[in-house]
Symmetry: D2
Subunit: 368 residues, 4 copies
Amino acid sequence: MSHNTFGHLFRFTTWGESHGPAIGVVVDGCPPNLDVDPAQIQRQLDRRKPGQSRFTTQRREDDEVKILSGVFEDDRTGGLKTTGTPISMLIDNKDQRSKDYSDIRDKYRPGHADYTYHQKYGIRDYRGGGRTSARETASRVAAGAIARLVIPGVTVRASLVQVGPHKIDYANFDWDQVDRNPLFCADARASEGWASYLDDIRKQGNSVGAVIEVVAEGVPAGWGAPIYGKLSAELASAMMSINAVKGVEIGAGFDAAALTGADNADEMRAGNQGPYFKSNKAGGILGGVSNGDPVVVRLAVKPTSSILTPRETVTTDNRDTEIVTKGRHDPCVGIRAVPVAEAMMACVLADQFLRHRGQTGREGPVGF
Amino acid sequence: MSHNTFGHLFRFTTWGESHGPAIGVVVDGCPPNLDVDPAQIQRQLDRRKPGQSRFTTQRREDDEVKILSGVFEDDRTGGLKTTGTPISMLIDNKDQRSKDYSDIRDKYRPGHADYTYHQKYGIRDYRGGGRTSARETASRVAAGAIARLVIPGVTVRASLVQVGPHKIDYANFDWDQVDRNPLFCADARASEGWASYLDDIRKQGNSVGAVIEVVAEGVPAGWGAPIYGKLSAELASAMMSINAVKGVEIGAGFDAAALTGADNADEMRAGNQGPYFKSNKAGGILGGVSNGDPVVVRLAVKPTSSILTPRETVTTDNRDTEIVTKGRHDPCVGIRAVPVAEAMMACVLADQFLRHRGQTGREGPVGF
Amino acid sequence: MSHNTFGHLFRFTTWGESHGPAIGVVVDGCPPNLDVDPAQIQRQLDRRKPGQSRFTTQRREDDEVKILSGVFEDDRTGGLKTTGTPISMLIDNKDQRSKDYSDIRDKYRPGHADYTYHQKYGIRDYRGGGRTSARETASRVAAGAIARLVIPGVTVRASLVQVGPHKIDYANFDWDQVDRNPLFCADARASEGWASYLDDIRKQGNSVGAVIEVVAEGVPAGWGAPIYGKLSAELASAMMSINAVKGVEIGAGFDAAALTGADNADEMRAGNQGPYFKSNKAGGILGGVSNGDPVVVRLAVKPTSSILTPRETVTTDNRDTEIVTKGRHDPCVGIRAVPVAEAMMACVLADQFLRHRGQTGREGPVGF
Amino acid sequence: MSHNTFGHLFRFTTWGESHGPAIGVVVDGCPPNLDVDPAQIQRQLDRRKPGQSRFTTQRREDDEVKILSGVFEDDRTGGLKTTGTPISMLIDNKDQRSKDYSDIRDKYRPGHADYTYHQKYGIRDYRGGGRTSARETASRVAAGAIARLVIPGVTVRASLVQVGPHKIDYANFDWDQVDRNPLFCADARASEGWASYLDDIRKQGNSVGAVIEVVAEGVPAGWGAPIYGKLSAELASAMMSINAVKGVEIGAGFDAAALTGADNADEMRAGNQGPYFKSNKAGGILGGVSNGDPVVVRLAVKPTSSILTPRETVTTDNRDTEIVTKGRHDPCVGIRAVPVAEAMMACVLADQFLRHRGQTGREGPVGF
């Protein structure tokens, strides 16, 4: 979890800049003998890739992933299997159209990391934001596709639940809707309203923020590594590391602040398979360890900082100026962050699963 | 950041259970030759220690910290200095009054980690919650007091900004008030209202949640280790690892979701000392790297789960029952979490500072 | 494996100086529900403790270990069990007789870390070598005693196999002899000769080096984490981290350089339980992974640097001088390093075991 | 230092199999603004690449390295500079001639990791040894070339000092000879004798081991991270992680065991620039921290296990058989391990340098 590596036993390292020759990821610590279907990995990448609808950037990228290592043909089936060695995946950057970078070379774009990277490193690859571009998140999605193989009993899904000030109606919540609308929204009706709202925003040369809800079902009780490796703490770190994310909450989250203890603590009852909880204010995590209920995380994504509206800023030699960030930008980066948030959830869970199995010798709880 | 260790170059490991003989922390990687004043460390612990007011648990603990290693007398001044070797600090548990633990031994307390620890480990020290007790946070405060020595130019302060549904009025915000009221609240007037509100809550045998705001001033631009070691990601992890925390946000946080790009991205102007930001929606962090503005983090603390109101739960052999958690509990654990949140902020910053210095050879930004 | 922490899943952190109030260790990541017998831990510490014979320092220390956390009484048996939380162990320093430290404060002792610690940190606790004292190794032995509980099927033993220029005769090798002579030597006859040799050395105010052989039997095939976490690489790191160690070899070790491929590569035969090796030049490790044969490591320990013979050195303000290191020193530090080397072997194996179990879900090999 | 990642602040992750499409490395944590000359990196790779002489494998590989990220054109000079972000380097595998793998698929090669990888993972890429092939070391050499940029004041060189039973004469030692003979030997005369000796060995279908000496000059006093991150411990781990290495020693190494304290501890004298050591038995390291003298490490490389002489082994279904490893093998893998050992030394030092600078704020010692 330092620099460009995430995770402990199941860990991945990403590399690459927005306008370099390629980006990629090395997944290490993956269990051996898992069946790998490259088409399945590609499908996840396709969900995140640009140009899928008018609500995302029109940059043209196939985002075709190549697996360079860590898999081997199964002698019997001819299919690919993980070998336990590092899985290197590479995605070429294709749409690096030659253009004039002088504006973003000489000015700091408000809301971007231009200024902070320059101050930290004294040098920055300004082409398309370089390393700070959300293009990096394609690598996370590839890693997440591998992570899902590690925890086949777990279903990880996400939905946009707020766009700008507009929230979904949870009464309409239906996971099947998520991949049926371009906004990854489980509330089909909300999705329609958001579409016209986003058209307006885009026409204004503006952008808006969003909230994403990620849910993992099938997580057994017992995953999580207290105290500083709490499942909740690592989810917070995972989600906050995604570009433009400014807030993370688990279960009742910030609303829990306004609740009383009697209203907040989920009561328990005896079930046939062992105890169960009458509610899930906890978001599936108690004391940093999963309790068997769905793990529920929400993240706040700020509005795209690159907008067509002129903004006050300074030049790299500290003179007042204005900037208009032309180009192909998402009116709401929160949309494409949905598969990214799923990927990070899957990676955190895969890692916690392996660590739990390592320490205890069990895959789940002691049970009843 | 795994198990019971937090941090990379500046790192600490905590140990100990609520009702064991002692708790403690080992701080490793501290720079040498820093002046250590044990009274200053004790002062931080005293702020967190129980029994300071009627709003916190009446458990009686001196929380007297003993420094066992890593410091040495300065030949000239006779004062203590860090030597660069591990600083071990120990706090005895004094108020372990012998009592009947059968209730919490045989039942799972709702909202607590009893059930999850049992399912994870198959064994748990049930006395006072064992390792999951918020008593562990005393160790963090000790570590944080050392961290402050590492970043003397940075001021880390926190305030309660919401108790239950009641928020402060930022117009009244005054850091000097924080240590003048028992609720660590920068709004003196709000604090008074909260006091009577909390008295009611306590009399009802109930509890409430809270929101804390932590601010670090004097952080130079350039601290933060992208991508997965972003300053924001590590703050999220640090805060979410604190007992009862269910949400973390940076700067505008969840409110950013409802903003447009034009409203959210902080514009810049040329100043005499270099560029400055006209606002701080970013909470001092862009692209995971500090931008020179105050670093602003808010965390949501759920209400104390141990309440005098009877709650439905199950026995450890899965039979329905009820539980009333008697004993000495905080009506609002958010109060004592204020110095803990400060400590975690200081630890994250100290670690990021050392890593930045290691990679770049500079203590701050390249400058202008 | 950075700073004062060793290991990944099974990891420990040590702290403390030779003449501070205490030293100690925090063991993290230990599996839960292991039976802990404090007397067994103490027995390991007693083997390493000073003053056991005329061949080791006469410093008087009980080395009584206190377990402060991470264990809990088993409800049925009343015995102690690990809980999966950090096990903190503390050993008081008792024999800190007040003395005149001016000589070692103002001069650098040749062969010691006085000069390098001073140059690194700009400050050093010179009393008895401070953090660089071999006293630190008591903490490792305590950690190793816990590690043995994690791998009950593995027997870890060590023997002195060379003292000064004198080697054992492997024809006489008998593990049962190791704890029957004060030199931890499996060759009883060699041990007798060494005793009189060491008496001479001590009377001369001199010291000698030694070689230790550590053997782990019962390690199943499959433990080890290639490429940079190879079992061999971690054993090398573990042994080289012990005070005064200057060389480590596995199996045939340096002798392998002089062998041909035909002589060195262990041939295999089919056995009833699966393949076996006809020889063990590999020392039980191939490609960084255990092969089922005994894991064999040898380490070279340099002679004690503190001797009564006057030595040329410099003062801390860079003037030529001489030093005679008076006090209570081991004529051969290699002797007391025997239980320390065992402890490090046990810790490496416990950690690799948990990591192997985490990644593969198996405790050992796939088998036949 | 776990799995496929090496290092802490300066760290690299390697990936790739012998007969997959490519191998590669991601270097993370590199300081920004270092001048990168791709030709210089290529030069290091060319030294290690196969087919350079009749003493190394005739596999045909260009080993052309492509830099995919982490560098950016300097606006002024047009040259490349590091940006502080991950440097991804890729080397295509070209000579993967289609062949019959059935022999190595169905039999375990003695001295190789075939059996242990199979037992660990239950699956292995048997083509050319897959991940366990020494081909992986090309990635280390690329990382080492970057590491050298981080520590420009340090000169890292290595020489073969023993081949089979034949050692060099240190009286003839001349660093300039190393790149003038195909055996990387600083003793030109020894090199000639070895050449004919190796011709004989190769004609016999056999192989031999070797010893390499690596020396780093210009390392200032103060680098090293005690206790478990000692410079010596990390060098031991680094060298032991190289394919076929079975022993590592620092300075006097195993010979120190036979020395007395009076002979072993390097005496000190006052010099104009501060103290100096009269000898270097310590190999430049005391207490795990560099002392300003050359850092001297020797490593023992076992003979190539792949030989043309028939060897007894078993099939993967545990039946007795024989194997002759045909193909293109080095008669002495020690030769090509010379640039690899240099690379690992450079990587360890670069990492320790950054960690020292991080903790202390200095690049070297406190000085006089």
